[in-house]
């Protein structure tokens, strides 16, 4: 089928401001939007710049706004998003656009690093694995799925309003450790997250949950962190 991709283009070496460009390509309805973008890049205009790698929704490279919503281009099928044969594609919001669909991810990863995204356990390690009951393991299963694609954070109005807000992705990562029974730094992480730019800036907007390509219950995870802070109990 023929689809027209309306892409927001920006080349820092030439343009002062972003502008729209339309391309019509021939693709299968079951193709990914990523395939359509590749078709543009490979047979019409090689200057189109985007990040991608795995092409099946696991590496988190190709978050972009497709028809006004954050998605992974490799997880959106043409038939599902094309409206009257048109697909609009723009870079994600709230991070500086570097070129075309590529944004500067440095602030995003800085927030990620800020919440101590690693297991802390200062006990001498046992000879074999640390034991963890399947129930304790299940407690934080959902948030281990995060691929740091930034779909959530850049769909969050609170983040658009204030880029210093750590954002849902960082909180999801913090949740993954706070609720891991093997971790000993939950307290410190919770303290960081109770600072003015922590969880309290989340306004329970749910855009993050809707945008997450991994189906993580992001708002719920944030809510659980808030609850731990509210009650002083991590359960």
């Amino acid at each position: 089928m023929k689809v027209t991709l309306k892409i927001k283009r920006f080349n820092p070496e030439v343009d002062k401001k972003p502008h729209w460009e339309s391309y019509t390509v021939d693709v299968e309805p079951t193709d990914r939007v990523l395939d359509a973008l590749h078709e543009v890049k490979w047979s019409i205009d090689g200057t189109l710049a985007l990040r991608r790698s795995c092409a099946h929704g696991i590496c988190g490279s190709d978050a972009m706004r497709i028809n006004g919503r954050n998605m992974l281009a490799c997880k959106a099928l043409v038939k599902d998003v094309a409206k009257d044969g048109v697909i609009t594609v723009e870079p994600i919001l709230g991070l500086p656009v570097v070129k075309d669909l590529i944004v500067d991810m440095a602030p995003f990863f800085a927030h990620y690093r800020a919440i101590m995204p690693y297991l802390v356990n200062n006990d001498p390690p046992p000879e074999r694995e640390r034991l963890q009951s399947p129930e304790d393991r299940a407690r934080y299963d959902d948030t281990t799925k995060c691929i740091l694609c930034a779909c959530c954070t850049t769909s969050c109005p609170s983040f658009w309003a204030r880029g210093e807000y750590v954002g849902p992705a960082a909180i999801v990562q913090a949740h993954r450790f706070i609720f891991d029974s093997r971790d000993q730094a939950a307290e410190e992480r919770l303290r960081i997250l109770s600072e003015p730019d922590g969880v309290w800036r989340c306004r329970t907007v749910f855009n993050c949950t809707e945008a997450c390509p991994r189906g993580i219950q992001v708002t719920k995870a944030i809510g659980e962190v808030k609850e731990a802070l509210r009650t002083g109990v991590i359960r």
Partner: protein, 133 residues
Amino acid sequence: MLRPLVISFREGIAYRAKGNLLWLLHRISGLGIVVFLGFHIFGMSMAAFNPALHERALELYKTPPFAVGELILAFLLIFHAVNGTRIAILELRPQLWEKHEVATRLSLIITAALALPTLGIMAYKSISHFLGH
């Protein structure tokens, strides 16, 4: 410097999801009520300090532009109250987080159920007041 402000308002409308619209409206309604509340408290307190001013305030409320403003205020207050209640309940009751879509729909229905009759009666009262004179 105001880029975030611009983005959050422009995209708050453009981004294709419900959450940001509700967020924007909640914010605008909150701010709107705050501004009104300031004038309102000031006006009312004049009942104790300067009755003439108090009287003037009450007279002002009875002019047509204020009648329209009153309708807007009513909607904003009702929306803010219902939406705020939704947020507060969801945040204080973690078990409900997975049902947020239902909660959103419900809150919109309740807002409409409260706002429509309220606005209707108020509009009716205003119109009959202005026409009645």
